[in-house]
């Protein structure tokens, strides 16, 4: 009995609200940024330069143009960061007037400031995009290797949103962090300049920071709840509509229209109520942040003006302060926006890491045995007992051997363990060592990939990948040339219908493959496995209805497929069973009978009874379709 740990897959369904900050997650996220450290540092360096230039622009206007040129009262005591000297130097070298020189400085500073900003943004975006591309790659690759037992229990949609939407939330988070850098650097530079000019006035203005900060905090707290309620009602609305659309005929035939509309209206009203709450909050907060900052202008006129009158600061400095006003609360606003993003991002991060940390896998041997280039194709099952859940075995002590080139038909009622048998052979689940052998080698000593490249599996449902017919046959394997793929299709008689399609082998198929019939899908599945040319073939014969003509074509193709190949067929059709070398009867996970048709008939057991019933493979529905 294989050791199967009971794993709780329900966490993939769990709804995660998330916490604001999880340093552990942040550290892990930065692991993807780390390889791009150089370009990230460059980006931060660029924003420092750009911000410095941005801060100097109003200094040029106020200290050079207003104080120096217009009022002609440059105050040497007040800091101007060398802009006056620079103007004088340019004027001296070129012979231009001070005003023209100042204009030139302003123009050049502006130009470089925005070039650097641009370079910063572009490099930063590149860093983040590359990091997330890698994260997405790692996540996808990880999920691609989770075993069948995982996908048996977790819905595809839940895995998909982790790779798509949740990684996208990381994008918002990281870009937001970049934005914070872009806001905070000029903030501190500006603050330094203001403090250097007038400490008292700056301190008065700084009262705004805690006030606006607190208001932003409370606003975010309040809106978080409302936004969550809005999200809930919106998703309920969508679910309701979606379900109603899917079952519309039932709704109409049951006269449920009014009642359902009533339910929908109720959710919609709920949504409206919360939307209106959000509007009241958002509008008040937005207007407050947009406008209240201008009160600072009054403070500057009053207090700054007072200082100017006492000649402590220049008139230019007063104007300079008025230009810095906006910069003062921007970081708070941006911080507030980031707060919500942070919550969502942390929830997403939790989901991403949950998936990445999910280590359920098919055990691969540490030192795998390499199989020879070509197998003989002998298979042995030796006392195999297996169950998906511990304590509930599906197969009991199964032992039998298949000789190279032999065709074995497996028959048995639903739930007898036929499908499990072939899934194990494909190494889709973990089972005990020393129970299944390929040419005498324990297949647990081989890598899953090696086993699967030797064993071709044709399942009942042929999965179509979006792409051409050719892509679907070769699955993009470079070892399979176009000619080989077409040859495979010809061998299984799929050629004629493919050539009949508008673009032949280049016809594009869509995932659900509505443009192909059951029989055509079956033939394509044959072509796919034939092109891969495995030494061993496993086939789960389709039970679905196929018209008699196609049926003949398929039986023909099957013969080609089975020729000189060890094969196990889960048979549903009499013809298939009769043409097999040996027949294995499985019931309740145990081997009941095994032998050729004649041997089993002589045994007068289950198979005999079966035959006595004169069964025929054609299901009832097909007779009239």
């Amino acid at each position: 009995m294989a050791v199967v740990r009971k794993l709780d897959h329900s966490i993939f369904d769990a709804h995660i609200e998330g916490q604001a900050m999880n340093v552990e997650y942040l550290k892990r996220i930065f692991a993807w940024v780390a390889p791009h450290k150089a370009i990230a540092s460059l980006s931060i360096g660029l924003v420092l330069v750009a911000s410095t230039l941005a801060i100097l622009l109003p200094v040029v206007i106020t200290r050079v143009v207003i104080d120096g040129v217009i009022l002609n009262q440059p105050d040497a005591l007040l800091p101007d960061f060398g802009t006056n000297e620079l103007t004088a130097w340019i004027a001296g070298v070129t012979g231009w007037s001070a005003l023209v020189s100042a204009c030139v400085i302003y123009a050049v500073f502006t130009l470089f400031c925005h070039i650097f900003y641009h370079a910063h943004r572009v490099t930063f975006a590149r860093t983040v995009l590359c990091a997330l591309r890698d994260m997405r790659h790692d996540l996808f690759a990880h999920m691609e290797h989770r075993p069948a037992s995982f996908y048996d229990r977790v819905a595809v949609g839940r895995v998909m949103t982790r790779i798509t939407n949740d990684v996208q939330a990381m994008f918002e988070l990281l870009m937001g962090m970049g934005m914070l850098i872009g806001e905070f650097v000029p903030f501190f530079l500006g603050l330094a300049i203001m403090l250097a000019i007038d400490v008292e006035l700056t301190l008065y203005l700084m009262i705004a920071i805690p006030v606006f900060g607190l208001i932003t905090y409370f606003f975010r707290q309040a809106t978080r709840r409302v936004y969550r309620l809005i999200r809930n009602t919106v998703s309920r609305l969508n679910q309701n509509l979606q379900e109603n659309l899917a079952g519309m005929q039932v709704v109409q035939l049951s006269n449920r229209e009014k009642r359902n509309l009533q339910t929908y209206r109720e959710i919609n009203s709920d949504n409206l109520k919360h939307e209106q709450q959000a509007i009241a909050l958002e509008s008040s907060y937005g207007a407050f942040m947009d406008n209240m900052v201008n009160v600072a202008l009054a403070v500057i006129i009053w207090i700054g003006g007072g200082s100017a009158l006492q000649a402590e600061i220049s008139l230019g400095s007063v104007i300079l302060f008025s230009q810095f006003v906006d910069m003062f609360i921007r970081p708070i606003r941006v911080l507030g926006q980031q707060y919500n993003i942070l919550f969502r991002a942390m929830a997403s991060a939790e989901r991403i890491f949950q998936a990445l940390d999910w280590h359920e896998q098919i055990k691969d041997p540490e030192h795998p045995i390499r199989l020879p280039a070509r197998l003989k194709g002998a298979i042995e099952f030796r006392h195999l007992t297996f169950g998906y859940d511990p304590g509930e075995p599906v197969l009991h002590d199964v032992s039998f051997t298949i000789n190279p080139g032999e065709n074995l038909a497996v028959v048995g009622p639903t739930g007898s363990g036929k499908s499990t048998l072939i899934r194990l052979l494909g190494r889709f689940y973990n089972f005990d060592d020393g129970t299944i052998f390929l040419d005498g080698v324990d297949i647990n000593q081989l890598t899953a990939a090696d086993v699967r490249s030797r064993i071709g599996v044709v399942m009942q449902d042929f999965h179509i990948f979006s792409g051409t017919i050719l892509d679907n046959i070769s699955l993009g394997n470079p070892a399979i040339s176009r000619e080989q793929a077409i040859e495979a299709a010809k061998s299984v008689n799929a050629d004629s219908f493919i050539e009949g399609l508008p673009q032949g082998y280049n016809t594009v198929l869509v995932e659900r493959g509505q443009n192909l019939s059951q029989g055509q899908r079956q033939l394509l599945a044959f072509a796919r496995v034939l092109a891969a040319d495995p030494e061993i073939l496993i086939l789960d014969e389709a039970t679905a209805s196929i018209d008699t003509e196609t049926e003949q074509v398929i039986q023909q193709a099957l013969k080609t497929l089975l020729k000189d190949r060890t094969s196990i067929l889960i048979a549903h059709r009499l013809q298939t069973i009769q043409e097999a070398d040996r027949i294995l009867v499985l019931k309740h996970g145990q081997v009941k009978e095994l032998g050729s048709h004649d041997q089993l008939m002589a045994l007068r057991g289950i198979y005999y009874t079966l035959n006595q019933l004169q069964f025929q493979e054609v299901s009832l529905k097909e007779d009239i379709t």
Partner: protein, 597 residues
Amino acid sequence: MGSLLRLSIYLKRYAWSFWLAVAGMLISRIFEGFIPLFVKNGIDNIAAGQTALTSGSIDYQSALNTLAAPAISIVICVLIQMGTTIAYRIAMRRIGVIASYDLRNRLYQHLQLQGPIFFSRHSIGDLMARAINDINLCREILAGAIRMTLILAMTALVGLTFMFTLSVNLTLAILLPMPLIGAVAWYFSKKIYAASYLVQEGFSTLSTFVQENLNGIRTVQSMAQEEREIERFDQVNQEFADRNLDLFNMTSFLSAIMPILAASGTLIIIGYGSVLLERGEITVGTFAAFFSYLALVLWPVREAGSLVTQWQRGASGTARLFEILDYEPEIQDQPSLDFPEPSGRIQVQNLTYRYEDKEKYALEDVSFEVSPGETIALLGRVGSGKSTLLRLFVRLLEPTSGQIYLDGHPINGFPLARLRERVCMVLQDPFLFADSLSDNIAYDDPNRDHQEILEIAHAAALEETIEGFPEGLNTVLGERGVTLSGGQKQRAALARGLIRRSPILILDDCFSAVDTETEEKILSGLKKVRSQATTLLVSHRVSTARHADRIIVLEEGRIIEMGSHTDLLAAGGFYANLEASQRNRLDLVSRLDEAAS
């Protein structure tokens, strides 16, 4: 663009809010325009005070007092501006959300009136996209685009008015580069829109790829294709990253070029303003105020481009939404005033039906009669018109010509709800809602009592299923609950129809996943429960059809055989052949089960 006018009903409905909002916008803009003016006054007063203090004509306190008026005025302007801004934003956004609320209800109600033809044209995904995205776009137009357009226009107007009052010459000079700035913004906002569309498209390609891959994960793994799939994923992933980067480059470039171009305005103020200042045409305060006004005027110039795209997107969203809302339902409920209580007597007269996109008739000139209490079995190949015929009985489809009568009255004379209550149809596809089993069975009327539901479940051979459930009848079905097998689903759907005890019951091949034995058990049970009722059923099994009073065989939309089991066997046609071929043919799997037990 015409579709946008359809949204004007919401502006009319909330005309008071709307016009008050417009007034609020104007007031807020005007007071916003006053603020730089008072700052200018303050600065001029400081300058004058400095001069006066130097000459000693005034003391410090009186000079400081001249600053009080501008400072207080600024605070007043800010408060008024804030108050009006809050008011108009709330008013406009409210109109937006109320409109989206109303549009959602309208859409929902409208969709419920549509028939199968409509739903074959519009997939659920398509309709969901309209319900989510397009209604949002409508809301954005009402709450966002209209407001922004008005505000931008007013801001420009107010800004220019104040500037012209202060200095005509300087204003004219500043306006010079504006057309260029506007044109650049316009050009880039178009390109950015296109780029962001590509990003969205890239994202959906990525999602589709992942979904498709995971759906086929077993095939991928069994063919050992994981690494190749990862490689293919990398291409899609890289493409998405590249498109994002393109978009970022473009938006970033726009954010860089805009202030560079705007700097021309600043340079004009510095250069030309200084000249004017020297000439005494303007004061230092005016000089400073122009920097603020420049920002005010630049804003609309910058935003115009993206606003236009917002209008365009809104217009196409509105058009898509109203395309659905304007679609005339295929089935019109126009009952006549007098209609009888159906007894179960049906006459079908020259019934013909052709699907719009097909040339061949699905039904051609079909006529027959059914007496109350009779059971009719319909047989025929796939596509012979069985389902079409059944759907016509409950008016999911309207006949091209011909008519169905219940007790002599044409069925379109009955109110639709009454018709569907009296003629109950169980569909081929057993769709169940993600509710409890009992909610699903009592779907037509949630107030039915437990005992009744249990009884019907019994008649539909569901008792074992219910016993096996953790919470019996109250067990929730679907993704988050238990999953039923195909046969269980069909029986639950059957129970949903049976509970209505309608005089006419129509079963569209709803035993296909139920084994023969259970089917016979249900059918014989049915006879007892519904002794007086008329039943029409489609089946593929002769074993089922033989129990019917009469059998109708359809072929290419026409009746080719009609009569009792023995009559048709004697006639030696399609039915007789079918019977012969089915007599000894039994399903391998079920025989195996039998043989093994």
